[in-house]
């Protein structure tokens, strides 16, 4: 029996190797890259692509230009961010009162699940890919991504993924199918459809949709990661080497490595779960592999995933913060090596999410040890950022404000993480709002903040315009205050014992009155955040359409401090080409370069 299996495995391996050999013989893969016969031509304006682009919708549907795909990724992610945000606003509204008064617990649970999945897989990962797609080729002086068409496919996997993830909500008015209510961790046996609740039988089809949707997004992320790795390794310009590769590319490279090892595992686990649900296998059932197996597989993916979402934001802070401090990043190499260390160690800590499951205490202790070790490289970065700021010539522009805010929030998120990494503390705080506070300080406080920083910072390159400075400041302060009100209150709720993932809090854990007030404070914070984001979207759209075209090739005065990096150099060459081509007539615009240029229009 065992021999037969071994033989089968060996045969399968041989077969796959044969397929690989065959494919490599019939196809000259290198012929796909780069787009046109540029060969190794380096750092030149890739203007030829523009002439060939069709106009209108067709352009966006057929594009293989990394910048267009970056914009598509960005637009997609921001829509997902809005959807996830509206979901959580409904949830927070329900939590204004202790009992089930507004949307009901079933709908709450559906929203909770979709909010998490949407923010992590449909907003976080693709948003980072948006920056990567637009800027990595520019930063490393590549013509385009290494595989432009794979790049397009990777993006076009995402819209069907989103539709499937949200499918439960779309069909619930017409069918018996319920949206998934498993929470983003999809723990079995609930997610395996065991029992008679809404997650089993026909009404559980929403889970199948969601799993298939997640599979799409996983494929997309994996293809994107391969593309980033190939681009940075093989397509970088001859003037870019490992010694001077920029920090954002380093973090994207590390992140892509994490994706490469984490997402295929999630994909396999999802398929096993689908088989359990639909084909009678017992991978995750008590009589088979057991529910803990799912948790191991999920978190072996899940913890790297949180760093997949954290490393590029750390890269963005490391990249942008020095630009407005008037000096280079302090200890550049430290940040590089600690990024790699986080990447490696993030695969060794997964069971710190399972401390309370009753796994062997000796094994649990090992996970605690690695979790403590991984905190060091994270802390190193904070010290590097602080030291970069220290004595620097700070210019509090919108991107800078968001970077500083992100550092501050990351300290909260990181310190609360170290606490829960200690087993005795975790046993008390596990599954409370404390955990929700911890990871939101990082996901909202670091990830979303750096996304805003990046968008503001590169807005002039992407749109050729400048955003409205005053609105950006409003956006920052509302977001900073809202984030800290919301998630600090959550930490306190956790200390009081409020469990997470409940639509009500009438069950008498902890001091009821205080819990109610804290929940209302949290909801207030969420509303503040909502207002801030509406201002942001308005600012982005209005500035893109109506702001005067920017004349300044160096809106942040980067040349002054010798930090005029490749992507700005590319932008400058592009604009100069446009002017010699006799570009359009343009109005002058002011910048948010820290210069007090008051009195002009609010578009600066």
């Amino acid at each position: 029996m065992v021999e037969a299996q071994l033989v089968l495995t060996a045969l399968m391996g041989l077969f796959l190797a044969g397929v690989a050999v065959w494919l490599s013989r019939i196809e000259d893969w290198r012929s796909y890259t780069p787009l046109a016969g540029g060969g190794g031509a380096v750092g030149e304006e890739s203007g030829y692509a523009h002439d060939e682009k069709p106009s209108g919708l067709i352009r966006w549907l057929t594009t293989v230009d990394h910048k267009d795909i970056g914009i598509l990724y960005g637009a997609y992610s921001i829509i997902a961010f809005a959807v996830g945000g509206i979901m959580v606003i409904l949830m927070r509204t329900e939590l204004l009162t202790p009992d089930e008064a507004i949307i009901g617990s079933q709908f709450y649970n559906s929203l909770l699940t979709s909010h998490g999945i949407t923010m992590l897989f449909l907003f976080g990962t693709p948003m980072i890919a948006a920056f990567g797609n637009y800027f990595i080729p520019l930063l490393v002086n590549a013509e385009d991504m290494a595989f432009p068409r794979i790049n397009a496919i990777a993006f076009w996997m995402l819209p069907p993924g989103a539709l499937l993830v949200w499918a439960g909500f779309l069909v619930v008015p017409f069918t018996d199918i319920q949206p998934a209510q498993t929470a983003w961790t999809m723990y079995t046996p609930l997610s395996a459809g065991v029992g008679t609740g809404t997650q089993a039988g026909v009404s559980g089809l929403g889970i199948d949709f969601m799993l298939l949707g997640l599979h799409f997004t996983g494929l997309s992320a994996t293809m994107g990661a391969i593309n980033f790795i190939a681009t940075i390794f093989t397509d970088r310009g001859s003037d870019v080497n490992w010694a001077n590769l920029d920090i954002f590319s380093w973090t994207m490279l590390t992140q892509s490595g994490l994706i490469l090892f984490a997402f295929p595992l999630l994909g396999s686990a999802l398929i096993m779960l689908l088989l359990d649900r639909n084909f009678g296998t017992t991978f995750f059932l008590a009589e088979g592999g057991g529910p803990i197996l799912w948790q191991h597989l999920f978190w072996f993916f899940g913890h790297p995933e949180v760093y997949i979402l954290a490393l590029p934001p750390m890269g963005l802070v490391s990249f942008i913060l020095p630009k407005f401090s008037g000096r280079k990043l302090f200890g550049f190499k430290f940040v590089v090596y600690s990024t790699l260390a986080i990447g490696v160690l993030s695969f060794g800590v997964w069971a710190h999410h399972m401390f309370a499951t009753g796994i062997d205490p000796r094994i649990r202790a090992s996970f605690e040890a690695v979790s403590l070790a991984i905190a060091i490289p994270s802390a190193v970065k904070v010290f590097n950022w602080t030291t970069t700021l220290w004595g620097g010539n700070l210019r509090l522009t919108a991107p800078m404000l968001f970077c500083v805010g992100a550092v501050s929030n990351f300290i909260f998120g990181g310190v609360t993480g170290i606490f829960t990494a200690a087993i005795p503390i975790d046993l008390v705080l596990h599954d409370t709002y404390y955990i929700v506070g911890h990871f939101h300080y990082i996901l909202m406080g670091l990830l979303a903040f750096t996304v805003f920083a990046g968008i503001y910072y590169w807005f002039p390159i992407i749109t050729g315009k400048m955003y409205q400075k005053r609105l950006a400041k409003w956006h920052f302060w509302l977001t900073m205050i809202g984030t800290n009100i919301t998630f600090f209150a959550m930490l306190l709720l956790g200390y009081l014992g409020m469990p997470r993932r409940y639509a009500t809090y009438t069950f008498g854990v902890g001091p009821q009155q205080i819990i109610e007030v804290l929940h209302q404070v949290t909801t207030l914070g969420a509303f503040i955040l909502l207002v801030g984001q509406i201002i942001w979207v308005w600012n982005m759209i209005q500035s893109w359409y109506e702001a005067p075209t920017l004349q300044d090739n160096d809106p942040w005065d980067l040349k002054e401090t010798g930090q005029f990096t490749n992507e700005w150099g590319w932008n400058e060459r592009r604009l100069e080409t446009a002017i010699t081509d006799g570009g359009e007539e343009e109005e002058t615009a002011m910048t948010d370069g820290g210069d007090p240029v008051d009195g002009s229009a609010d578009t600066e």
């Binding site: 200890g331 590089v336 000796r362 590319w570």
Partner: protein, 135 residues
């Protein structure tokens, strides 16, 4: 060349990863020699493996990346070439700025090309390296 790849500079840069490696070593020793449980071969193998494997991979990744960076650093200083445009690269290998030279105020557009030409990131890294070393 291979011996000189890891010069003092590079080793100092790599100290940042020696701290987590030290923490892992500490716990390996504790679990081996001060464990309150008796050593069960299977569980011990797993629990030590969970520390040794990340340790080994981290050593490997640090070594490989440190070598790649150090090599390119040497060849880059030899070639000493940046892109044709006035674009610069975003790492410490080029000129390190001295904060005193910064324009003091925002509106002051003094074109002080305030760059000091000792092309090295050694100074801040060294300081940081020493600090971390002591942890």
């Amino acid at each position: 060349m291979s011996e000189r790849t890891f010069d003092r500079e590079t080793l100092l840069d790599l100290t940042v990863n020696i701290v987590p490696l030290g923490i892992l070593t500490f716990f390996i020793l504790v679990f081996l020699f001060a464990s309150p449980w008796e050593l069960d071969p299977f569980v011990t193998a797993i629990s030590i493996g969970l520390l040794v494997v990340p340790f080994a991979v981290l050593v490997l990744v640090t070594f490989v990346s440190g070598r790649a960076v150090a090599r390119d650093e040497q060849s880059a200083t030899a070639a000493g070439e940046l892109s044709a445009s006035d674009a610069t690269l975003d790492s410490g290998v080029e000129e390190e700025l001295v904060s005193d030279d910064h324009p003091e105020s925002d509106d002051d557009q003094s074109e002080s090309d305030a760059e000091n030409d000792e092309s090295s990131d050694a100074e801040p890294d060294d300081a940081g390296g020493d600090e971390d070393d002591e942890n």
